[in-house]
Amino acid sequence: MSGAGIKVLYFAWLREKIGVAEEDIELAPGIATVAALTEWLSASSPRHEAAFAAGKTVRCAVNQDFAAPDAPIRAGDEVAFFPPVTGG
């Protein structure tokens, strides 16, 4: 992964809708929060758009901790998107 890259992971139906479990993304200038990244990813392909259209039912973790839409994203981060958890 190069300088401004992040790793993005998808789980459960987000992974199925998008079609990949993970992808390396070059952070475009101005993509500094979870919300901005979500918007950028949604615009990147129809599959991403369909997955993220579920809006409030998509959860996020940054570096393996739950993260709110305004949480910061930095180069080198691991960002995961997934539905609300259903274990137990």
């Binding site: 459960a12 973790a61 901790d65 539905p83 958890v85 259903t86 274990g87 137990g88």
Partner: protein
């Protein structure tokens, strides 16, 4: 110190209880919750349940949940084991054990641990129905309410 594990194998509650209590006599009681796969979902028969998780975050979140329980109750040990992969009706899914000198702490900590695991640990279930279709399980508001009664906002 908590025992935390994600595994594909069936859970042996007897062996896990023996491991938790081995070599000590200060424990007065062990609370336990063993989750199993129900053969129906929403009134429909299922043939299997598949569990996926987020390796790394799962272990971190289970460790954080166990640490929170250890901070709230005088525990002498606890065990959190969750299965992943394809499970059949009747099989074990999850085990929570909490050992304490006294029963109230053991029972309360056990309920706390399973309530928080259900709302915080990154596991996802998919049900396979007898008709051949599959469906990801939706999160239940009731699970958030169960976690909320312990006074920590579910994230």
């Amino acid at each position: 110190m908590a025992t935390i594990r994600v595994q594909t194998e069936a859970i042996d509650i007897g062996a896990e209880t023996a491991a938790l209590t081995a070599g000590r006599a200060d424990i007065g009681g062990i609370g336990s919750f063993l989750g199993t796969v129900r053969d129906t979902a929403g009134g429909r028969k299922i043939t299997a349940m598949s569990l996926e998780h987020y390796p790394g975050m799962t272990e971190r979140s289970l460790a954080a949940i166990a640490a929170e329980a250890e901070a709230r109750w005088p525990l002498l040990g606890c065990t959190l084991i969750h299965r992943v992969g394809r499970l059949l009706p009747g099989e074990t899914i999850v085990l929570v054990l909490a050992a304490s000198p006294h029963r109230h702490a053991a029972l309360e900590a056990t309920a706390f641990l399973i309530d928080f695991l259900k709302t915080k640990a990154p596991f996802w279930k998919k049900e396979s129905f007898v008709e051949g279709d599959e469906e990801w399980v939706s999160a239940r508001d009731a699970d958030d309410s169960a976690a909320a009664r312990w006074d920590i906002a579910a994230r």
